[in-house]
Every structure is written in C-alpha cells, then in structure tokens.
C-alpha cells in the first residue's frame, strides 16, 4: 500500500517537473526579446526610424516591468524614439538593487543605461565598464548637455575617479531646496503667539504648545517638536547653529576657515547641548529616536505635533489627513531659521546644487546601441516632454476627464515603471505646475499652502562649500561614511544617557578611527577645486 503511494508520488513528481520544464521553454521564448547589444529592431515610427531596444535599470519601488510591446514601451517609442525596456529589479533601499546589478556585471550582462548607486560609478569608470561621456554628450545628447549648468559639469569633471577630468555619469541637479522647518501656524494663532525668531522665543512657543493645549482637545498630548531615528529630520534644531546638515546627515562646510565635518565642531557641541535640554524638558518627542517615517508622520497627522522638519511642498499630504482625521483645517507655515545665542545670523538651511549620479551608460555595447542610449538620455532631458512623461500612459497612469488629463492613483499591480527626469532635474516652476494640476476646487487651499512654503523657504538657503565633494574621500572608512559613531553619540547625548562632555570623546574617536584621513582628503579636494 505504501509502495503504491510512493510510486504514484514519484510519477506525479516527474509529470510536474515535465510540465514546468515544458512551460518554461515556451515562456523563455517570450523572454528572448530583452536584448543587450544584439541589435533587435522592432516597430516602425512614421519616419521609418529604426527603434533600438535598450535595457534601462532605475530604482523601482514595486511597479511593473516594461517589456517589449507593452504600453509604456510603445508610449516611449513614440515619445522618445527608443525601445525602453526595464525589468523589475527590487530596490530595497539600494542593497538588493546593487546585488542584482553586480551579479549581472559579473555575468557580463550590464544593462545599457542604468542608475548607479552608492558609488559604484567610480569602480565602473576605473574599470572602463562605462562610457566616457565628455565628448559624446554634446554630440549626441545636446539637450541634456545644455540642461545641466556648466558649473555642475565642471564639478563632475573635477570628481573624475580616473583623475583625467572626464565625465562618466550624468548627475542630478538640485535647482531648488525642498526641506525646511515647518510649524502649525494655526496653533500660534490660537495661542496668540508670534512666529518665533530668536531661540528664546522659539523655546517659549514650544512650552506654550506643551502646556496650553493648542489642539484644543483638553488633553496634554501635544508634542511640541521632534524628529526621527538616527537624529534625522530634526535639522531645524541644528541649523540654528550654522551646522551643515542634509536631511539629518551632518555634512562638510567651512568652520574656522577650514573645510570640516560639521559633526565635530564647536557648533555641534552647542547644538547638542541645546537639544538635550529640550529633550529633558519634554519639549521634544521622547520617542524621537524610535520613530520611523510612518510613526512620526502618524503623529503629525494625528494633530499632535507643533513643529517638524520636512519638504515644504509636501504639506498638502499632512493637511489632507489632518482634515480627514482630526477635522482640522490646519495652516502649516515655514519656520524661519532661528537665531541661537552666540550664532545670530549664522543659521541656514543647507543645500547643494550637485545631486547624486543619475545615469551611466554601458561601454560594453555596440555603437548603434550606445547612440540609442544617448538618444534616450537626450530625449528625457527635453523639458517639453516632462509633462507627458509625468502623466504616463493613458488608461494606465492617467485618464482624460473633460478633456483634461488627471493622474490616476498609484497602483503597483497595474502600472508600469517609467522615468521621472523632472525629479532629478526639475525646477520649482515645474513642481508648482504639477501641484496646481492635482488640485480640485475644494482642496486647492492645501496645494496653495505647499507652494507658498516651497517658495518661502528659499530665503534661508545656503549652498555649502562641500558641494560636489566626492564620496571617494571615505574609501576604506565605511563607518565614517555611515556616520555610525555620530548616531551613537548624538542620540545618547540627547536622551541624556551621556552627558554633553562625552562630546569631546566622540570627536577624538572620530578622528582616530579614520576621520583625520578623511578630513585631509576633503581639504585636498577643496584646495584643488578652488584654485
């Protein structure tokens, strides 16, 4: 009896395996079209132009892949004149993407055009795996060449890992800064307070938020201010002290006449002492360092937070939830950079012009495909096409209502990935247009607030000296690059586990574990670039 069962089992196993193998051969036929330099041509446009297929890899947070003949493929073939093929590669914060990319490279199958991540472009350039774009861009991608300002191209040249002043990647540019401190103006109004400008005024406002129940629910549940884990997204508490900081990561700027890492300066020590005081007095979310994005946003949206730091133009998201959830029509306004004692006039919001590398082009493809890759980059740099790219494919990404294109909600099971060059290279005007476009009569006020914030924060912005500093200065010192020591000391000092005196220990350790070498390299770079 058992024997028979085993026999049946084995037979079904064999049959299943056969079925699967059979299915696989038929589906693998379908897959042969993702070519890589094999010169597949398909589809003819009106001008009998040959459409070459190129494989493009970009960060994909879950949208469907683009295969030959699919809606996005056809749409891009018409709009850009290239066969855009993009497989699904899991992003997962970049780690999985990097692994998949490396595996492909090891197997000799690099995509034609792709997003480099975490400094891989330096290795690729040094090994001749990606194309030298210096002369190719003006020739085959003039729109892109002109879109990015010359100073930015010069920085890229200066950061050439081969040291020859060549261009190996296409950078993103930050034409305007997005982040700022934001405050519930309606709370200030409710309590009869003015927008704070000095630190003393600011702390008084925080205290008032905590004690005088501005959200009016009779419970002392207000969180005056706070941030997220690793002491990030609380830059407004640091930038009062003239500290260079991007989205919570300390950065490099001129201190005492020399390019220095902001985390090891006197400014930082004073800032930490101040913030520790805020924490001790309960003016800061006690769980700040346990907050992930969802948790912190949840608190903001639950009408609990008075002051936070994030994207000025993103206010509409919070305003929507505050209205739907707590039933409050809030007013979120820009918090000016506060004047800290001893640092009056020195505070600023950090920005850089040079964004991270957006695209590199494989050198392991034939000339036809190389030119097609460049054509791709050229076309997506065409600002006149951005609106169409943003709107995507009709029926998939947008629908037409009363003759006007309306974007459909995000749906990863039906929508394919596309490119979004406007995020990498976009201007404030384009962003404004997008925001107004999404507005309806009832919710327009939210978008107007967002636009107002986006514009108002620009007056506090300063471009820091380390704009363009290459990440190669950290080579060999990954923990310095990762700011591991900083996270540990900053969080512990703020929550009070360490006294502020431990800061000096931090500085010493930082220098000893490689900070001194990194600082030297950074200063060398600065000297070279500023000759």
């Amino acid at each position: 009896m058992f024997r028979r069962k085993m026999l049946i089992l084995m037979m079904s196993v064999v049959i299943m395996a056969g079925l699967i193998a059979g299915c696989s051969s038929s589906s693998s036929n379908k897959n042969e079209t993702t070519s890589n330099g094999s010169g597949n041509t398909s589809g003819e446009t009106e001008a009998a132009e040959k459409i070459l297929d190129i494989e493009v890899w970009t960060g994909n947070t879950g949208f469907k892949a683009v295969e030959k003949g699919s809606p996005v493929y056809n749409f891009y073939a018409e709009l850009l004149g290239v066969g855009f093929i993009s497989p699904y590669v899991e992003w997962n914060g970049g780690t999985d993407y990097l692994n998949a990319l490396n595996s492909r490279i090891a197997a000799g199958e690099m995509p034609n055009v792709f997003l480099p991540y975490n400094g891989i472009e330096a290795d690729l350039a040094k090994n001749g795996a990606i194309a030298d774009l210096t002369d190719l861009l003006p020739q085959y991608a003039s729109k892109l060449w002109e879109l990015i300002p010359e100073e930015v191209w010069n920085i890229v040249k200066a950061n050439d890992p081969t040291g020859q002043g060549r261009i190996y990647w296409v950078p993103g540019i930050k034409s305007y800064e997005r982040t700022t401190g934001l405050i519930r103006k309606d709370w200030l109004d409710a309590l009869g307070l003015e927008m704070p400008k000095t630190q003393e005024e600011y702390v008084n406002v925080l205290r008032a938020f905590k004690e005088q129940d501005p959200n009016g629910n009779g419970v002392a549940d207000e969180i005056p201010t706070g941030g997220r884990e690793n002491a990030r997204w609380m830059d407004h508490l640091f930038n009062q002290y003239g500290i260079a900081m991007m989205e919570g990561f300390p950065d490099w700027d001129i201190y005492d006449g020399e390019l220095t890492f902001s985390a090891v300066t006197q400014n930082m020590k004073d800032a930490l002492a101040f913030i520790a005081q805020l924490y001790k007095e309960g003016l800061m979310d006690q769980e700040t360092f346990l907050n992930d994005k969802a948790t912190w946003d949840g608190k903001i949206d639950s009408n609990l937070v008075g002051n936070y730091f994030h994207w000025g133009q993103g206010a509409y998201e919070h305003l929507e939830k505050l209205e739907l959830g707590a039933g409050v029509k809030a007013e979120i306004a820009v918090l000016p950079v506060i004047e800290a004692p001893g640092y009056e006039g020195q505070g600023f919001i950090t920005t850089k012009q040079l964004g991270s590398p957006e695209w590199v082009v494989s050198a392991q493809q034939d000339e036809e495909h190389l030119i097609a890759s460049l054509k791709f980059l050229n076309e997506i740099a065409d600002e006149s096409k951005w609106y169409d790219l943003y709107m995507g494919v009709e029926g998939m990404h947008h629908e037409v209502v009363d003759g006007k294109k309306v974007k459909l909600p995000e749906d990863k099971s039906t929508q394919q990935i596309g490119v979004a060059p406007f995020y990498a290279w976009g201007s404030m005007e384009f962003q404004e247009q997008l925001l107004l476009d999404s507005a309806s009569e009832e919710n327009k006020w939210r978008y107007e607030q967002s636009i107002k914030n986006m514009k108002e924060l620009q007056q506090y912005v300063k471009v820091i000296a380390s704009d363009g500093l290459p990440s190669s200065i950290y080579d060999g010192y990954p923990d310095i690059k990762n700011n591991t020591l900083w996270y540990e000391y900053a969080t512990k000092i703020i929550i009070g586990t360490y006294s502020i005196d431990k800061f000096d220990e931090f500085v010493e350790k930082w220098y000893k574990s490689g900070g001194d070498v990194v600082t030297e390299r950074a200063r060398e770079w600065y000297a070279t670039v500023n000759q």
Partner: protein, 289 residues
C-alpha cells in the same frame, strides 16, 4: 485510563492555562496584522489600529484578491511547493538512509562534508554564477531545485532512522530483501512523523522563499508569492507623489497586511492535516518483544 492523582490534576490544569496564555501571546502579532488588513487607510496612518480593525472595510482584501497576477503567483508557488517537497523528501530519504548503515564506508566523511556545507556558506557572486552555469537562471525549476536538500533536514532524518532498532530490518535481510526494498517497504512507512516534519520544513522553505527568486527569476510571470508580495510593499518614499490620493481606502500598509495574511493562511490550513502523523504510537506493534 489510569486516573491522575489530585496533585497531577492541578499540575495539568496549570500547564494548560500556561500554554493557552503562551499561545495567545504568540498569535497576537498575526491578529494585529489581520486587524490592519480590515481597517481603513486613515486610522492605519494615524497608527490607531492595534488588535481590532478600525473603520472596517473589505477594500484592501478586494484589491488584493482581484489581482490576477497574484493568483498566478499563488499557483506557481503551490506547484513549486508540492513538486519541490515531494522531490526533497525522496532525495533526503535516499541520502539519509545509507548514512545510517555502518557498512557504508564513506559515512563519516560524508557527515563531515555535510556539516561543512551547513557551517560554511558560499558568497553571493560565485553562487549566482554557479547556479547560472547549471542553466537555472530565469528557469522556473530554480524555484525548487536549489532547495532539494538541506544539511539540517538530512541530519534530522538520519537521526530518526537511527532510532529504529536493528531488529527491524533483520527479518527483511533474512528474506533477501535489498536496501531499496528495505528503505521503501519498511523504514519509510514507519517514518511518517519525520516525513511529515521535513515535508513541513521543506514546504515552508519553498513557500516562503524570496532571496533565490530575487536573484534568479526575472520573468514576472514566474514570480513566487513572496516576491510578488514584496512588489506591493514600498519603503515609503520621502518625496510625496503628487496625484489624487483621497479616494483610495487602502494604502501600502493595509495591502501589505492582506498579503501577509494571504500567504500564511494556506500553511495554517495544511498543518492540522499533517498533525495526524505526529500521533503517538506510530511504532506500536511493529517490533515484537
């Protein structure tokens, strides 16, 4: 049945109460996930949902269950799990049996080799290149072939086989039965418990697999369940995506909760079925004296 003494009855009750409490604590996370899956978008975003749904809605479930590509993944995963588990059990038994026989000369060496494979792991790129070289890149067979054997399961089966008294097979040897006969007619029928156990282990491994398909499967039609589910889970973007948001009553968190529940339920349904193999007395009457 012999009746228990009073002290034993008390002990018994305490044990049961203790286990019930532990069980409840163990189940709590799943209950929380299910609660989120039936909740509306806004309460979830405001972090208001704990063990009970808020703003009860079937929208998230509707959305997920109507994704045809998800059902295809489900089917793919079911096929791969059934095939793979059967194949794994077969090969594990075939490999474990000789390891229990002292007359098998290379027994010790093999054991050391097996433990080595468990302790020393291959780095990513060489593994990728090897699997690719064997022809499994972008081949659906990769969904179960790399999981056919694990050192852990192999050693467990061997340990179980070793529990059988030597007399078990002696009768068969006398009758002239070869090793294959002995394995399939004698040993395996009595090994239902370990077969069920390893079947569960292998099955769950294939069912939950994610790292392998991530590297080796590029055709979305062949994505197994977990990989497909990952597609619906975003790490929330920093930058707000401009577009109409308000009408949807679900978000990535509620959808994620649905997919998690969706992938666990089949396993919960299968286990009680396997449970009957864990009944005491499987050996009853097999060996006399």
């Amino acid at each position: 049945m012999v009746s228990l003494s009073f002290g034993e009855k008390v002990m018994h009750t305490i044990i049961i109460i203790f286990l019930i409490i532990v069980g409840a604590i163990a189940v709590a996370p799943l209950i929380s996930v299910i609660a989120v899956s039936f909740s509306s978008r806004l309460p979830v975003e405001l972090n208001e949902v704990t063990l009970w749904p808020k703003g009860f809605t079937l929208d998230s479930w509707n959305y997920i269950l109507s994704r045809s590509d998800l059902w295809r993944s489900f089917a793919v995963t079911v096929c791969a799990t059934l095939t793979g588990t059967a194949l794994s059990l077969l090969i594990t038994a075939l490999t474990a049996y000789p390891l229990t026989k002292p007359e098998f000369k290379i027994r010790s060496i093999l054991m050391v080799a097996i433990v080595i494979t468990m302790v020393f792991k291959a780095p990513l790129i060489p593994y990728f290149l090897t699997v690719k070289a064997v022809g499994l890149y972008n081949n659906p067979l990769v969904l179960f072939v790399p999981h056919i054997l694990t050192a852990f399961n192999l050693i467990i089966m061997r340990t179980f086989f070793l529990q059988f008294p030597v007399e078990l097979e002696e009768a068969a040897v006398v009758e002239g039965a070869g090793y294959f006969r002995r394995l399939f007619s004698l040993v395996l029928p009595l090994s239902k418990a370990v077969l069920a156990t390893l079947g569960l282990f292998y099955g769950v491994t294939i069912w939950n697999q994610f790292q392998h398909p991530l590297l080796f499967v590029t055709d979305p039609d062949w994505f197994p369940l977990q990989l497909k589910i990952r597609q619906y889970i975003t790490s929330d973007n920093e930058l707000p995506i401009v577009g109409s948001i308000a009408e949807l009553n679900y978000n990535s968190r509620t959808l994620r909760s649905v997919t998690i529940a969706f992938s666990i339920i089949p396993i919960i349904m299968v286990y009680p079925y396997l449970q009957k193999y864990f009944v005491k007395g499987a050996l009853l009457g097999s060996v006399k004296g």
